[in-house]
Amino acid sequence: MFADYSTSELMSIFAMQGFAGLILFSVFVLMALGLAIIFGQMGVINMAHGEFMILGAYITYMTSNVFADYMPALFGSYFFVAMILAFIAAGALGMLVEWAMIRHLYHRPLDTLLATWGLSLILQQLYRTIFGAREVGVSLPDWLMGSIQLTDIVEVPINGIFVMTLAIGISIAIAALMYKSRWGIQVRSVVQNRPMAGAVGINTAKVDRLTFGLGCGIAGVAGSAFTMIGSTGPTSGQLYIVDTFLVVVFGGATSLLGTIASAFTISQAQSTMEFFLSGSMAKVLTLLFVVFILMLRPQGLFSLKMRK
């Protein structure tokens, strides 16, 4: 298939394709981080993760409308405000859900799956009632659209760079929070041994609530960022949920590093195969690959070593 092209053309295409893989990687990381925190640290299977993302997207939509109507001069910067609001709204909803529902189910992980699935249906219908069944179009500030021309052929989409920067930034922030802060120590100790953590005076209920809120808040930011590349509708969250779980489970649920490594592996495999094969075939092969690896390593790529 490459016979007709010059070397420079091929180089450019490989560069762009590499970049496409990195964008996909960033998207996966953003999707999966929130879920990895909730699933990995708390053992809660949050099927409503996608709906928390879409909450972020709708917040972005509303923020853009408010800016367009009341402060058109500042429209270029609304996206940052929207991401902060999305984090707060999704995080607050997450804490509310944890308080009302999840905390009663900690000893029954499979029931959290059903409960959060029900929650996702409720949220979908709520979005439909409030915003209408049709998808909404989120208008972006001009500086986020288009691409940077590096050479004649190599063009890099600006929103891709934005998503990458965001993914890196959030990953670093989470890592710092988990491994450098006092609160992170509390979270990790609760994960490792809940009764013991309680015995040394950690308020485990509060840690749980904040952890769940943080995971949902990150989902909100991801949803906000995805308005640049995807659709915003009541059921758009469903588009992401399968890939998200795939990344988290493949990475080893308890490890953030594993999530990142897994996002990288899956995104590179998928985007490379998409280039050489058809889209559907690439998806099939990616899934087969993941299934095969999980058969060999059921605990995922990375896992915490701890005494059972």
């Binding site: 394709q17 970049f19 998207v27 659209m145 509708g233 059921t235 992401y240 998409e274 280039f275």
Partner: protein, 423 residues
Amino acid sequence: MATMNHASQSGLGGKLPGLVKTLAGAVAGATMAFSAALHAAPATSEVNTTDLAVTDDTVTVGILHSVTGTMAISETGSVQAEKLAIEQINAQGGVLGRQIEYIQEDGASDWPTFAEKSRKLLLNDKVATVFGCWTSASRKAVLPVFEQYNGMLYYPTFYEGLEQSPNVIYTGQEATQQILAGIDWVVEEKGAKSFYLLGSDYIWPRTSNKIARKHIDKLGLKVSGEEYYPLGHTQFNSVINKIKLKKPDVIFASVVGGSNVAFYKQLKAAGIDMTDEKPLVLTISVTEDEILGIGGENIDGAYASMKYFQSLTNQNNQEFVKAFKERWGDDIVIGDVTQAAYLGPWLWKAAVEKAGSFDVDKVREASPGIELTTAPEGYVKIHPNHHLWSKTRIGRAKTDGQYEIVYETDELIEPDPFPEGYQ
């Protein structure tokens, strides 16, 4: 209420079927002329011999679309159009002197639910006809039910063809009506030589692309790629790179649903400016409804091949758009399928009046040749194969989310659900 009336009626029908039939037959002609002169409704026993939910002053029909679940995005417009048409017909005096009442059921984007609800509408509610379904999957699910209980379905969506049921009137285009004229147009007007076919991975895009590929082959031109992505796929950067490498003249796109939004946003972000037309984008899946989600600025310059655009300037359409906005709000948009859904109740009314009866068999018999001169898309006519004769039009997307019509076929295009040489 409809059910109660129906019960008393079926009692009568059960006891005296022969008598009723004979009477109805004997006086039919005379009564028709008589009632027309007096402007009174013909007797119920005479317009309804098959136990339908018809009373002396009402007739009940069904509306069956998804108002919840993932398809609600698309089907909402169809429901609105069908309700508007029914209200307008009622305001004009109804059908055979009877006001139309509707029972709306929710298919909930779930195909077995569609089948179950259609059974409920036909068996329990005894509706005279059903306006509904959107995806081919839902139509295929209800088809056996409609054929078994002899119901009538008016199906609004443009679809892949390869079907012709005595129990369905297809008010949207079958694939050749949408595709062939569109491809001819890009070849003649834009000098296109090579095509990249891209779609979501299910029956409609695959069948459509099969027809497109055959047609492109017949014209002696080149298909430089054909690709499918799973429904709901949100990452198109790889295929966009492939398109950049292959440099086709035309991207022929039939991506649907949420993927649509992702595809156009990423195409634009990757530096492909559709207004340059290098490559030109020709889509058969983006109506004004979808542009709401995609955003006009992200699809500016793409071409769509449809039979209807909201921006049509004929008298019928101006009135239709005005009525639609008055009924459903000023900021609403009307896509191709919405207009096709609007035709359903009107075509049914015309067929019922021609047949002088609500009986499904008589309506079916009367349907071929029914014309509608008041259709927003202009003039349509039902073909004996239950599809509509209609024009193909090409529109160019603008930033305000509307299409500017750049071409329409001179003649109505004959529906051909089983195109020879294209299968």
